[in-house]
Symmetry: C2
Subunit: 601 residues, 2 copies
Amino acid sequence: MFQSFDTTADPTTGPARLARLRTAMAEGELDGFFVPRTDAHQGEYVADADKRLAWLTGFTGSAGFCLALRDVAGVFIDGRYRAQVRVQVDLRAFTPVHWPETQPGPWLIEQLPAGGRVGFDPWLHTAGEIEKIENDLDGSGIVLVPATNLIDELWQDRPAPPQGAVRVQPVAFAGQSHEDKRAALAAILRAAGEKAAVLTLSDSIAWLLNIRGDDIPHIPVVQGFGVLHDDERVDFYTHPARPAGIGDHFGPEVSLYPDAAFEDALVALDGPVRVDKSTAPYAVSRILEVAGIEVSWGQDPCILPKARKNATELAGAREAHLRDAAALVEFLTWFDATARRGGLTEIDLVVELEAQRRATNSLRDISFETIAGSGPNGAIMHYRVTRESNRKLKRGELVVLDSGGQYDDGTTDITRTLPVGEVGMEERAAFTRVLQGMIAISRARFPKGLAGRDLDPLARYPLWLAGQDFNHGTGHGVGSYLSVHEGPQRISRISEVALEPGMILSNEPGYYRDGAFGIRLENLIAVVEAERPEGGDAEREMYGFETLTFVPIDRRLILVERLAQGERDWLDAYHAHVYHKVAPRVSSPARDWLKAACAPI
Amino acid sequence: MFQSFDTTADPTTGPARLARLRTAMAEGELDGFFVPRTDAHQGEYVADADKRLAWLTGFTGSAGFCLALRDVAGVFIDGRYRAQVRVQVDLRAFTPVHWPETQPGPWLIEQLPAGGRVGFDPWLHTAGEIEKIENDLDGSGIVLVPATNLIDELWQDRPAPPQGAVRVQPVAFAGQSHEDKRAALAAILRAAGEKAAVLTLSDSIAWLLNIRGDDIPHIPVVQGFGVLHDDERVDFYTHPARPAGIGDHFGPEVSLYPDAAFEDALVALDGPVRVDKSTAPYAVSRILEVAGIEVSWGQDPCILPKARKNATELAGAREAHLRDAAALVEFLTWFDATARRGGLTEIDLVVELEAQRRATNSLRDISFETIAGSGPNGAIMHYRVTRESNRKLKRGELVVLDSGGQYDDGTTDITRTLPVGEVGMEERAAFTRVLQGMIAISRARFPKGLAGRDLDPLARYPLWLAGQDFNHGTGHGVGSYLSVHEGPQRISRISEVALEPGMILSNEPGYYRDGAFGIRLENLIAVVEAERPEGGDAEREMYGFETLTFVPIDRRLILVERLAQGERDWLDAYHAHVYHKVAPRVSSPARDWLKAACAPI
């Protein structure tokens, strides 16, 4: 299994570790120390060696940080983790703080007197993050002090950093050689008058060099830092003890160095050097500035080209999604046959679904830990089932099943909501509204230049009319055999990034009633140039979406009479495509199931 | 008539006046002079004395400016006026420049050598506008120079500035005394540590002091400047030669001064003084800064409370809209009877509609010049009919009729699109989509905190699906017996202002096919707290809209089968309300017409 059902929370070790941290703080003349969840590469998942926040506090969520002061230790967590943190940390030692409502700067001003010194590891925080906190602290007399990482000094049995094998991502999947990518990006640097760009995001480096690895669960990256020079050369700094195995993939223009050499290399650069304030460690720009090298703030140059998938990557995504769809259909066939007999648990679903994906013989990993939330667990948006939380499915309940696979040719992410037997009207009405929102995005045609923010309301409008809404974005970007959550594009109130052809997004409206039930539907979609319908404006450039995910949407949950004709037409056409594309890839019983599931409504 | 059909453009006088301006520039050692359309109060309409741009160039549009240099004179106009400018100015003397695509700063850099000096009247440009141009000019060696207004020196027969009577807007319509308004705003200043705020917008002053006037066509304001002190006093600087007549309305805390005293008064203020960078003349902040008085940049404190209509203003708006609706229904009854006989022109419609509004005996003014665009003229978004452009209505055409009235209790603005006989399928299909967009906004329920930008896509989605769109915002704010275009709220891609209960907006999607036809539908709507429907989220605060406009939407243009059930339900309910509310207010023939127009679809 790529997923464990262990309860990783252990609130008992935190207090003693906090006490040792406070001793170390006193020795270092610090009044506080900053312990983030992130590593130096700001990824969503971190290696075991980087789980400092969990080591100190017991809290294992995917975002948050601890500000340990002499008398109080605040664990800053967002809305997703308000309940989880109270189970995972010892509340006598740690104080949960609602973040982002409460920001670290104002909180520090409340807790510390003027003259307070708060240490932080300059590799684990971005320049933008530190700048914001320092702005908030301005005039308070409290300072942030770059320091050696006290956790790393205290953590005796700290795991080794990742040093897995490096694999080539062939051009057959990547669609463009690393030579071509480097040439295109170097031209951008030259046009901007920049001599080099520092790359600190693992997925940027993996994309640029066409490599993949196993350093981090669920995201096939190789951890390290890169420098892209304006003459197309790349220096890649990573753990030196990796097994050889990619032959001469890199060629003469890409040089491999041990990660320990990175700092000295920065000091030897010619400026201006592009650094991404929102993703690069504070240490990077600080080292450059101290060395007198001009820093040019600008976005990591890999981010936009990585987001705009090329034709090969899109073809790969289509194939990966059909392979994944076949596994889902086998799973759903099994589910419908088995659930009716009763006794199934959430873990049973996760195990069976991973087995079906593994049976494709192409699964590299799951793209994140499968969410299988039944009944009230479905209302927990980022629910992860453990042996303790595991529930038996009950008749009349819904199950939210959100999962994805990592394949050489693409990354998938799909959510379906499944009924266990007959489900009530309230759930079906909400399901129908969520479906209407998802269809509105799927069918959308929209003028060039709009951002995800401009489409987000379309997914919510049917729920709004009923006085309902959901508290998450409608969609996130998705990588190409890379991170399942990839920027910069999103369908969200906070996304101002213009959508461009080739960008892959999720389309996943939902509805959640606390303590009762959850609903979510998710397809992946790619931005495409829209065909011009007859009678459409001749001069208007418009984009639309190509749906990539082809798995039936449960008809038993739809109040058909509430759908408008255009919505019905979309659904029938979608199901016809699903059957046509997926039927040839599944077993005979699954084909029978699929035929019924895809009949016109 | 409140509207004339004269062709005001006269391109013949421009070249000689431009030559005289250039002589004056040379005498003043200036290489250019800036001639804006705006006056010192940045309103949409200007008094005859302020029509400097038209005097110099012949161009009479509602926005734009001329940058007159020694060899070239650019007339900057936006998309609405690209055709009009070419008719109104002598193209041998003046060069149309596409604005805002081309900005004044970069254009000046292209046209002038380093050392170039461009004069501007510091009362006619905002501080923000000058700051932006100066930023653009940075490093070019070209400077903007505050100067006396050369146009005013050259313009021999310049009309006198407005000096009309001042009327009281009674609390029965304003809903709040000026004493209470001043107290509330002074408290805001005190909380911000500001000693005073300079008020330069005529509608802000009219709102704050509960006065109205006739200085400007279609906007019932009294031109002047104000200073609101943190002790609730207001000093009002305006033309001294006005007829007396508001008695002791102002009381001891509001003092009237001649406008000539304003500059000296500014210099005598204690700082910090709030100045609105986006609306106050450059001269205001400059005078304060030169005098060493601290300027605190901040929004004109009247803007938000003026936008949030109180219960009395909303009640007035409802009554004004029903009165206006009755006039419209009389007009539409006449139109349906008369149009079929043929021979009607656009001007006939404008004349008849104004007559019907005047017949209410309550019309103070029209709220803007009625747009009556038939056939291809309907595609000109801001069409103003003149005797020269006037067209006979033809069978099979559409007429866009966009008009409004100023009443003591409210300002109206309504657009209907009328068929002349049988209209083709293409027009009816587009009309149906526009109607669907308008219904989507009308029915919307949405979470508190959203801005107009977040709703704008809902009005466009039905058009987008057909590859169509319209090139204007979906809605603008509307004043309470004040400006028909009032900020800060809008339904528009560029509006980030959160919608709040009491704000009145227009809801006016459209569709335009150049040279062929135009369609627009417009109702005014007010933001209200939405009722919580059964099954809605208990904790979610949601807003919705109350429709204020009650005039039938032409059923002959609707493809009923394309409407979803919710849309049909809305339309039938709307028409039932129209009949119920308006029938008692109209003549017997109009009542018969209304009954048929409001029957269920």
